[in-house]
Symmetry: C2
Subunit: 284 residues, 2 copies
């Protein structure tokens, strides 16, 4: 049993869809969320910079005493997951592997579609993760650059977004995918439009739910689920505009976002990262 909070971060508010999925699956767990809205979106930035941000935020969350870290951002997962795992003492989960895994388990015809931002699709992180689990799967990917803007404007229904979704998804539908990975933390808010366009027979795999499943398994197997009877604690932090974080936060998550603390960049951290303890020893 471990009453420490779960740490979650993203380049902005998109990761709150992951928080929502964790809250609904693990209602007794406390959560600290950090949205880097002063520097997000990470998409257009150089990989090394995104990796440094991910390391900085992870160190900050570790110092706050989290028991597990979730990188709830596809760009930061692609750019920095391995380095963050090497440098942190607590386990670190990204969003890509759980989504890939969900898709491989769900598909019947082994034709999997993946949509995401340009950076995520270009990184081929989903392709690699899917192939590692099923080398015979056919993966059809498509970057959907404008969808994040629709979601952030709150336009998640209506003819304009429907037309945009149809434009992006038509080729995937034509190629007969029976499973579609929503490879961006903003997309679960477009589940309705996307689901109607793809049709009932296509399964939508949402990385938020898959990651929440993974967090639960991870904590349960370690014996680290929270035991306390007191209500859990939710703490929301951001690096930029608090007003924007609160209003978008409520849209993404709900009324749980009452107060958002602003944290000055660069983040204070004890800098106590142990030197990467990656090692392999074969005993003679």
């Amino acid at each position: 049993m471990n009453d420490a909070p779960i740490g979650v971060f993203d380049s902005g508010v998109g990761g709150l869809t992951v928080v929502r999925a964790i809250m609904s699956r693990l209602p007794h767990e406390s959560i600290i969320y950090f949205g880097d809205n002063a520097r997000g979106p990470y998409g257009p930035r150089p990989i090394q910079e995104v990796r440094d941000f991910a390391l900085e935020i992870s160190g900050f969350l570790e110092d706050l005493g989290v028991k597990i870290i979730v990188i709830a951002c596809n760009s930061a997962t692609s750019a920095g997951l391995l380095e963050v795992q090497r440098r942190c003492r607590v386990p670190v989960l990204g969003v890509v592997e759980p989504g890939a895994r969900g898709a491989v388990q769900a598909t019947r015809n082994r034709r999997i579609g993946v949509i995401g931002t340009v950076v995520t699709i270009r990184s081929r992180a989903y392709l690699r993760a899917i192939r590692a689990l099923d080398a015979g799967a056919t993966v059809i990917s498509r970057a959907c650059p404008t969808l994040v803007d629709f979601v952030e404007r709150g336009e998640v229904e209506g003819p304009r977004v429907e037309a945009e979704v149809a434009k992006y998804l038509s080729p995937l539908k034509k190629r007969g995918v029976d499973t579609l990975v929503l490879g961006c933390t903003h997309y679960p808010l477009l589940r309705g439009v996307i689901g109607r366009f793809m049709g009932q027979e296509v399964r939508l795999i949402s990385s938020d739910e898959e990651v929440a499943r993974e967090v639960e398994e991870n904590l349960r197997r370690r014996g680290y689920l929270r035991a306390s009877d007191t209500p859990p604690n939710y703490r929301f932090m951001c690096s930029g505009d608090v007003g924007q974080a609160v209003s978008l936060g409520r849209f993404f998550l709900g009324p749980e976002v009452e107060e958002v603390e602003r944290v000055e960049l660069p983040l204070a951290s004890s800098g106590s990262f142990p030197k990467g303890h990656l090692s392999e020893v074969s005993c003679p």
Copy 2:
């Protein structure tokens, strides 16, 4: 719903520990088992040859109408999983990834021990699979060449096997692993001796249980669990000595092994493997 059987194969009888775990988790599922005891163990054979055997047996099982294939053999998984996945129409699971995953989820200090045959440890398949899930885990591996012989002789308790286990596992214990992967399908029968030597605080990860969990998730998410009310069908086949297969089979699995059919090598197969449908398409 899908009443087709689950196909499982191994180079001999070791994979029956996986069958037992699947039976206990999914008691309504029918199973076809093929033990290649005429050509096993695969360990000392060239990788290409083991891969060809894995392809041959998978094609044979597909022709028998299985809905999923489990390669219940660490050597065959390391040598041929990807190729078999590419060539089969049905999903194919190996034993390595599920075991690695179980270990990554269970460890608290992120120090994971792996034991297996020489081939399995040399292939570094567990190391790769563990690192893909947690790049910061420390993996300490050890080949235990004689343990399979002890198990096949039925010597799974007593001072001789205890001394052998102690010799192999002392270095792993000294290095403070808190989780140990039993990376060979024979080792679950040594769980008692290994567990007593490592101590209560060390979690033993048995690939048989992890694979069974994975098979269940996979069939459930596809909607492919068996629906029929009639008792499931178990069919055991081997390529070599039937007498040996029956007696060892009962030892590994239990009285369910009533009858073993002998199948002549090379296995008849429709040869209808579709050309690898591996492909990736990025939509413009």
